[in-house]
Symmetry: C3
Subunit: 320 residues, 3 copies
């Protein structure tokens, strides 16, 4: 089956999901991001690589944090950015998503960065857009958040250098997490030794083992001998449902505490996609402590998004 994300030469043209991407492509992204890392630390944080390109942020779901990182990445590449808040736009005049896309295409834009509450929205747009336009998935429903997963992989490589010997756990609300899904795919492709998910049964997808992970239902078992601990944000709105007891109760069972952290390797790193809920899924002292690389993830996010934008725009799609 042909992968929608790749052009005829097998090069990355869209970036919708980690699924189906080779280790080589993921590694190319990481290597390119490494070359961009220094730009944000220079006095003049700007390179002219995407000058005169038009990047459209199509956010059907509010996300200041993610939108901000894409905007910064784009402007540090000297691209022009157009942010369209769809709630207040033409779709409210009854225009269909496809017509909105067609119109923006006609304005000769180069890239859509798409955030949508419905799984598959980015895929749908990539399938239906002009071949010269690249689509980046900035989070779709509970499906995928691949740029977040790649910045996490970048951070792991930065601290651990080699993926092969690593034991990695993803801890928390796996069921609703598009980030977790993308992380598991990336970790599998990059070939870590062991991937664990640690969560109460109510927050795990059914048949999660089929994703190639080991399942643990207690922190005590799940944290043992880890190299990398990835905490997943607990959506507080889930609390009101029957899935979860109180926040305090959750922290008592699945919160990352100082004591529990000792179960992992002494040089284990602690990651979190943010925004963190201090005292709910993670103790404040750990979030701010020496093993936390949470803010480094944010810094890396700019470089990784710059890399993905540059790589996909280099590679035109099929000449349909």
């Amino acid at each position: 089956m042909n992968n929608l994300q790749l052009n005829k030469e097998g090069k990355l043209h869209h970036f919708i999901t980690i699924e189906g991407l080779s280790k080589e492509i993921l590694t190319e992204i990481l290597d390119t991001a490494e070359s961009f890392l220094g730009i944000s630390e220079q006095p003049v944080k700007k390179v002219p690589l995407l000058r005169g390109k038009t990047i459209v942020n199509l956010f059907f779901e509010n996300s200041t944090r993610t939108r901000t990182t894409f905007e910064l990445a784009a402007s540090r590449l000297s691209a022009d950015v157009l942010s369209i808040n769809i709630a207040t736009s033409a779709t409210s005049k009854g225009e269909s998503l496809l017509d909105t896309i067609r119109n923006l295409e006609a304005m000769h834009v180069d890239m859509f960065v798409v955030r949508h509450a419905i799984s598959g929205a980015g895929h749908f747009i990539a399938q239906n857009t002009a071949p010269h336009i690249s689509v980046i998935n900035a989070g779709d429903g509970q499906h995928a958040h691949p740029t977040q997963a790649m910045l996490d992989m970048f951070t792991i490589r930065q601290y651990k250098h080699d993926f092969k010997p690593l034991k990695v756990a993803i801890i928390g609300d796996i069921l609703h997490s598009r980030v977790a899904r993308s992380q598991i795919q990336a970790l599998n492709t990059l070939g870590v030794k062991e991937i664990r998910v640690v969560a109460p049964k109510t927050l795990l997808p059914s048949h999660v083992e089929q994703l190639g992970v080991k399942v643990f239902n207690t922190m005590e078992e799940g944290l043992d001998d880890l190299d990398v601990i990835i905490m997943v944000r607990l959506q507080k709105e889930r609390m009101t449902s029957a899935l979860l007891p109180s926040e305090q109760e959750y922290f008592k069972c699945f919160g990352l505490t100082e004591e529990r952290l000792k179960l992992a390797k002494p040089d284990a790193i602690v990651m979190h996609p943010g925004p963190i809920n201090r005292g709910v899924e993670i103790a404040s002292s750990i979030a701010d402590g020496p093993q936390s690389v949470i803010l480094q993830q944010v810094s890396n996010g700019i470089a990784v998004r710059m890399a993905i934008m540059t790589l996909t725009l280099q590679n035109k799609g099929d000449s349909v």
Copy 2:
């Protein structure tokens, strides 16, 4: 009577309405737009013509589509764009429109792009602003939408080359359409052979013939032997009033169907300012069909707005 839009040398300084502009000025806009058409197709979609100019989008009415085209046009000319959503701005602190204008003038801005629900708003601002500032009307009430009309003229010339022999019909809600009003003026000035309006009587202004158009109340008569078909958007909110029966009923009588399209010349082009209501004023198959130039209109819109911005900023106003 002196035309507010022209400076002492008779050059275009504001662009508020087609009314009172000569064929030469309209043709200058079309020719300039033609020279800009290629810019949006280059890898680097940017020229430094308006570098260091400050263009203010003053939108008193929401319009993502129109705002977007002006923003893209401005940034491809390298101007700085400031978008002010008036609903959330100083006017809500009780400041008058004139004081808002005075303040922005004092910040040394160069252009106001104005969208307003009240007819004459752009004219009022042009009358009251500093002589070095240009005002572009991006749609005022039911009065005028001259940049839309010019991109339509550009599209007609692109496909038909010569205006003189053309029969053109504007079809739909003429009564509430600022676009139709501006189109009729432009078509008259550019000297087409025949302009028709086709609509139910309830959607026609009284004495519409005085605008220099032939009136038809059925599609069958109105479409005969046409070169250019311009569909006008049906504002669905009118449906609730006594002016119109249901959407289906409207489509049955005034929708552009495959069958009706055959009444026009075989090489007739179909235009629509968008956003389109599929199955209300136009059949989907026609909107996406070979005679439709609807998306080409959108592409041309960027070049035409670049031309109007550049031309008006070249020409200073009276030294009052």
Copy 3:
């Protein structure tokens, strides 16, 4: 006590309040602003001084006018501007202000321009941010609005040249005015001869004399022999409280009328931070009259903000 705003070399690194800044530093700001004044009058209103810097507008309180002047100042210095409306951002996902700051720091931003309803917000952020980041207070609660005060000082110097012999009055709602507080500090530091506050007792802070001002409760006494009249905006929402009678009543007692203006020196200038309430605190004829420098204040605001941005970014903070 160490001044948070200055770095080890005693140079301005943050700009939070006029309090504690020397006459030399205020004068350096005014002199630098003077050199920027011409830029906004050139055909190309742009200098590359802050190219590749990322300036974040952190507005926790809506203010189109102030945000606009900072955005224009930043883009005329060629900086990249990121505007974050906090109401719709991550804090609504329960993230703390400190975590928001930490995240933006990690994205390698260079400056926070902060507007907040709570007094001390800018100070708090400056205290807690990375040493290479500068913080500019764009208005915090009823505490301070130092960039507004500096553009007022700039305007006074522009018209009166020397601060020493001047009699200046600030008139109106001193109690709730962060602008008045900052103006009094700046006028004292720059050494004017006499500072007066003129207001009904209900609109004066208790012990206001301790700020180094003379207090007057009638316009007739307060306006006598003035060089500079600074009107303060009357927040109409106060009208509903017990503090004030009707607008007409207020204008009758404390409005600046033609007649009252004659009590000041014939060459007195009239200032107002805007937006003005015509017929409430100031007569329309005076706001638009020959002694009014209200719009000149707005123009100067761009240059003064360009100066403050440039100066603070030149000076790194402590290497904590």
